[in-house]
């Protein structure tokens, strides 16, 4: 069961899309899973043949539980967790009322330096969604071995289940968001910056550009904002990444998570993959598709696990400035408010100009206000020259 964000502790299998013996390729949808926030299409990250399906539809299992075994082509079948060997169905089939309660993820505790873990053990821990900082190492010098990870997975799978009170999706989503945001405010030393950006040129460029486009290809200004953030990130890699195991990891690829509000409350922030490399037209198409699927509850697992930064806008709600809470393990969040006309001095004259307030919430463990300020300035420069977007 993949962990699709810091606010996910468990998931309920709705259905398998593949059968034992089916061949699968990296990126194929293998299952539909219900989480507290959305219904997710789970992708596989390897190519091979389905060896075994370990979870039954209707089962709710903790993050990290092995759901299926895939025999990779051309490789010996060697990595098999204890839970998988035992054919353990981690949670009994249950109605929602009787579904097992899943303990919240244990916070990382070993922060006195690097976690000593073998590469293969780290890979398995990552696949199982287990934080290495929570595992006791039995190898030389306390090094975490493959067997340690397997034992941790088995221990987690064997946790006693309690019946939770039945909650509807909205209540569960609120609880999940609350847990993730509480963790963020507890663990991440936020700093906040804001700047006012004149978007007159960008809006004029957009209006002119949309005259050339068919109805289905027209752009919304939010796409310009997202693209400007993505391009600016190329020069500020420390803001495009995650904080894991007590250290910052800058990501090579830029996957902006776009905050999308859901009807009935709550939000998700799925990834617009390779945001900086998409043209505005492609990005608009991706954005429209993502919004529709987020609200219809058909997001893919990689879209929830891949974002490297979040962009949120509350301008349509009349908000002038957003000082967001960073979504762990990300290390930055950019916010945009509504476009308002403000008096500006232009060539010695006071004129009304459309402006937008851009904000940055940054993680002080990774960056500081100096770099954050330069990053916002880079976004502004791009919006002053929209033809570069």
């Amino acid at each position: 069961m993949p962990q699709l964000g810091a606010d996910m502790n468990a998931g309920k299998l709705q259905q398998w899309r593949k059968h034992v013996g089916d061949k699968v390729q990296r990126g194929d949808i293998i299952a539909d899973v219900e989480t507290d926030k959305a219904d997710i299409e789970v992708e596989v990250f390897s190519t091979g043949t389905i060896e075994k399906l370990l979870i039954q539809p209707g089962e709710r299992v903790p993050v990290g539980t092995v759901m299926a075994l895939i025999r990779e082509e051309g490789k010996p079948f060697v990595v098999e967790t204890p839970a998988a060997r035992a054919g353990v169905s981690v949670a009994s089939p249950a109605s929602p009322a009787a579904a097992p309660r899943v303990a919240p993820a244990t916070p990382a505790k070993a922060e006195k330096g690097r976690v000593h873990i073998s590469p293969v053990a780290r890979k398995l821990a990552g696949e199982l969604g287990i934080d290495p900082a929570t595992i006791s190492g039995s190898g030389p010098g306390g090094r975490i071995t493959l067997e340690d990870v397997q034992r941790a997975a088995q221990a987690r799978a064997a946790k006693p289940a309690e019946a939770p009170p039945e909650m509807d999706r909205a209540a569960r989503m609120r609880q999940a968001i609350g847990a993730a945001m509480a963790r963020s405010k507890r663990e991440i030393p936020h700093y906040y910056l804001s700047t006012s950006i004149d978007v007159g040129r960008a809006m004029a460029w957009l209006a002119n550009e949309n005259l050339k486009r068919s109805m289905e290809e027209r752009l919304v200004y939010g796409v310009l904002l997202v693209k400007a953030v993505a391009l600016a990130l190329r020069d500020f890699p420390e803001l495009n990444g995650v904080w894991i195991d007590g250290k910052a990891i800058a990501k090579a690829e830029i996957h902006v998570g776009a905050a999308i509000s859901l009807r009935g409350g709550g939000l998700v922030a799925p990834a617009l993959h390779n945001t900086d490399r998409q043209s505005l037209g492609e990005l608009m198409k991706s954005f429209r598709d993502l919004v529709q699927r987020a609200r219809a509850g058909s997001l893919r697992s990689s879209e929830l696990s891949d974002p490297t930064i979040t962009v949120t806008s509350l301008g349509e709600q009349g908000v002038e400035a957003v000082f967001g809470v960073i979504y762990p393990p990300q290390v930055a969040l950019v916010g945009f408010g509504k476009i308002v006309e403000r008096p500006c001095a232009v060539a010695g004259q006071i004129v009304a100009r459309p402006t937008i307030t851009a904000t940055l919430s940054g993680d002080h463990r990774v960056s500081d206000g100096h770099r954050g300020g330069l990053f916002l300035a880079a976004i502004e420069r791009l919006l002053q020259d929209p033809g570069r977007l």
Partner: protein, 81 residues
């Protein structure tokens, strides 16, 4: 095309962006986004839905005329006349 036929077509386009909406409760002169919890992306998709439903081209500058149910019906009736 009668106004009722246009209204039904508008409802079909709206249902694409707000499937949970009860169309029978829509007030004709109140902004759709205030009644349906929809945002600019939904409105864009709604405009595209109207374009496909009625085979009419809608310039971006005309989008404000689609803000209410009655506004939509008037705009489409004029375009189809």
């Amino acid at each position: 095309m009668t106004r009722d036929e246009i209204r039904n077509g508008v409802f079909r386009a709206l249902a694409q962006v707000a499937p949970e909406a009860d169309m029978t409760r829509l007030k004709p002169n109140v902004r759709l986004r205030d009644q349906l919890d929809i945002d600019s992306m939904d409105l864009l998709n709604f405009a595209i839905g109207v374009h496909k439903e009625f085979k009419i081209e809608i310039p971006e500058a005309d989008y404000p005329q689609l803000a209410t149910l009655d506004g939509c019906i008037d705009y489409i009736a004029k375009a189809k006349a």
